[in-house]
Symmetry: C2
Subunit: 354 residues, 2 copies
C-alpha cells in the first residue's frame, strides 16, 4: 500500500501525476510551531523524546503541505551513541566535548550496541507513523561516514577541515578505521530504521564536496558504496545527497535510487549526465525563498522546465531551508511545485490512460 | 625583458623548461616574518603603507622561492575607497561598519576618484618592483564585482549569503547598479595597476560558486566578461579564479589568459574541458601542506601527472594557504614543483633545441 505514495513512485522513476516535493530541514526553526516546542526542550532532548520528535516531524506535513515527512533528528546522534558527548547550541552548531584525534580515540569509540542506544529513534518512527496515519511516507536519514568523521575529528563545524584532512593525509589507516566503524554503524542504524517503518532513507554526505577527486574516492565514495550495498532496503528507496560533488557519473554508480543535487548545477545537465539510472532530487537555492512570490514561482518553473518531461524528479531545495525563511514562502513554493508540475507528467499519464 | 619570466610564459601557454609555481596568500600569516611586521601595523595600515606592503610582498620570494610575487593587499580596498568603513579583525575576517542594503546605499558610494584614493597601492607597486629588482614578476589582483558586492551587502563573511541573494532576487536592478559600479572600479583599478608596473593581474571571484547557473550568468559572469574586455593589458596576462565554478567551458569564453581551478576538480578533466584555449592555474588542496613530506611530494606529482606534458600549467594551491601551515612545508612544496615538473616539459624543450 505504501508503495503507492507519490514520493516513493517518483524515487523509483515510476510515472506520477505530478512532481512530489519535500524540503530538507522542513521540520525546523523557520516554523513558529517548531520553536514553540523547542521552548519546552533542548535540541537533543527533542531528538530523544519520541512524542516531541514525532510532533515536529509531522508539523510541515500539515503546515507546508509536503509530500513526505523526514524524521526529526540529527546526523550526530551516531557519534553520540558511540560515546562522544555532544552539545548542540543552535546559534553555533553542534560541538563535541572532545574531538577524535588519535588512534586511541578511534579505538575508544563504543561500536557495540549503537543501534540499541539509538532505540529512541526507532520509538519516534513508530509514533510518527501513527501520527502520519498513511498520509505521506516517512524518510529516515543518516550522515555519511566522511561527514560524521569530519565533525568528530574537527569537534565542530569547520571552514577549512584542517584536522580531518591532516588525519587522512598523515594517518590514513586511523582515518579508515574510523570510517569503517562509522560505515558499519550507519548500515545498522539505517537497516533498523527501515525495519521499524521508514519508507525511504537519505544519506547526507554534506562535506563530500571539500575533497579532491582522489580523496573523495578513497575517503567518501568508498564508504557510500559499502553502505548502499549493505542496506537491506526491502524496497525502500535510498537517496544519496553528496553536497558539492559534481562528478554525478561517479555517484550514479552507487546502488541507490535517487541522487540529490545542490542548486549550483543545472538539473538538465545532471539528468543528461546520469541518464535514466537514477531519480534526481532538488534543487532550488534555499535563498530563493527570501524572494517575492513571483520570483519563487519563476524559479520553481525554471527547474521543472529544466528537468523536463517524464518521471524521476523529486522537487526539493538544493540544501536545507534557512531558519529565517517565512513559512508562507515555503508553503507557496510547495504549492507552485504541485500546480506547475502536472503538465510535465501529462504525456505519460495520457499514455497510461489510453 | 619581463616577457621572459617563466611565470608569464606559462600564462601565455608558451613553452617553459619547468612548471612555474606561486601560492595564493603567500604573503601572509603563516610566515613568522610577516607576523613580525604585523606587530608594527594593523592590517589596513600594512596595506596602505607602501614600504611595509612591499616588504611582505617580497618575503615569500626570498623565503619560499616562488616564481611570482603578488602585491600584498585586500580585495576590500575598493569598497573602502568607495567610502565604506572597514575593520579587518584577522581572527574574524573583515567587517564593514554599515552594510549596503538599499538603492540609496548604492547611490551613496563614491565612484569618482576611486583609483586616485587607491594611489597607495600604486606606490606599493613601485617600491615592490624596485625590491624585486627583476627577480620575479609582480601580480596585482582585485576582487570580482560579485564577490565584492557579496561582502558589501552581507557586511562581513557569510555562510548562506542570504542578504546579497535577497537583494538580487528582490531588487535585481539595485544589485546590477552596484555590480556595474564595482565593475567600472575594478577596470580602472586593474588598468592602473598594470600601467604602474604589474606584470599580470588576477581577478578573484571567491563567491561565484554559491550561485545557480542562471544567477552566475547574470550576476557574476556578465561582469567578469565586461572587465576582461575592458582591460588594457598591454600584454599582461589576466588570470580569473572563480572558486567553486565547475562550468569551465563557460569560463573559457572570457577574454583572459589563465583560469584558476580549486582542488575539487581533476586538472586533467579541466584541461580536457578547456582545451588549448587557456592556461590553468592550480590546484593542490591547501590542507595537503599539513601532511608529511612524502605525501606533499606524492600529491604534487599526481597533479603534474594529471595535467600531463606540455605548456600552460601554473602550479598553485587550489585556494589560499592556511595560516597554520609550516613555512618549511610550503617551501618543500615549491621545491617539489621545481624538481618534478621538468620532465613534463622535456619533449617540448628538446623539440625546441633540435
Amino acid at each position: 500500500m505504501s508503495k503507492d505514495f507519490l514520493f516513493l513512485r517518483a524515487c523509483r522513476r515510476e510515472q506520477t501525476e505530478r512532481t512530489p516535493v519535500w524540503i530538507m530541514r522542513q521540520a525546523g526553526r523557520y516554523l513558529p510551531e517548531y520553536r514553540a516546542i523547542r521552548e519546552k526542550a533542548d535540541f537533543l532532548t527533542l531528538c530523544k523524546t519520541p512524542e516531541l520528535a514525532s510532533e515536529v516531524t509531522v508539523q510541515p506535513v500539515d503546515i507546508i503541505g509536503v509530500d513526505a515527512a523526514i524524521l526529526f533528528s540529527d546526523i550526530l546522534v551516531i557519534p553520540e551513541a558511540m560515546g562522544m558527548n555532544l552539545d548542540v547550541i543552535e546559534s553555533k552548531g553542534p560541538v563535541f566535548e572532545k574531538a577524535i584525534r588519535s588512534t586511541a580515540d578511534v579505538e575508544s569509540l563504543k561500536t557495540e550496541g549503537v543501534t540499541e542506544r539509538l532505540d529512541y529513534v526507532m520509538q519516534a518512527i513508530k509514533v510518527t507513523k501513527q501520527k502520519l496515519d498513511g498520509r505521506v511516507p516517512l524518510i529516515g536519514f543518516s550522515g555519511a561516514p566522511w561527514t560524521l568523521a569530519s565533525y568528530m575529528v574537527e569537534g565542530k563545524g569547520s571552514k577549512d577541515f584542517r584536522n580531518i584532512k591532516s588525519l587522512i593525509y598523515s594517518e590514513p589507516r586511523t582515518a579508515h578505521r574510523l570510517l569503517e566503524k562509522l560505515a558499519d554503524a550507519v548500515v545498522g542504524y539505517l537497516n533498523k530504521k527501515i525495519e521499524t517503518g521508514c519508507d525511504a532513507v537519505q544519506i547526507f554526505d554534506s562535506w563530500a564536496g571539500i575533497l579532491s577527486p582522489w580523496d573523495f574516492e578513497e575517503f567518501s565514495f568508498r564508504y557510500l558504496k559499502y553502505i548502499c550495498e549493505q542496506l537491506k532496503t526491502n524496497g525502500a528507496p535510498v537517496i544519496v545527497f553528496a553536497k558539492g560533488v559534481n562528478n554525478l557519473e561517479k555517484l550514479a554508480l552507487l546502488k541507490c535510487d535517487v541522487i540529490g543535487i545542490d542548486w549550483t548545477k543545472d538539473i538538465r545537465e545532471a539528468r543528461a549526465e546520469i541518464g535514466d539510472k537514477k531519480a534526481l532530487q532538488g534543487n532550488l537555492d534555499p535563498c530563493v525563498l527570501f524572494a517575492p512570490k513571483e520570483k519563487i514561482k519563476a524559479e520553481t518553473q525554471r527547474i521543472l522546465e529544466s528537468y523536463g518531461a517524464g518521471a524521476g524528479h523529486i522537487f526539493n531545495l538544493g540544501h536545507g531551508i534557512l531558519k529565517q525563511t517565512a513559512p508562507e514562502n515555503a508553503r507557496y513554493f510547495v504549492e507552485c511545485v504541485k500546480e506547475l508540475s502536472a503538465k510535465y507528467h501529462a504525456a505519460e499519464n495520457a499514455a497510461k490512460a489510453s
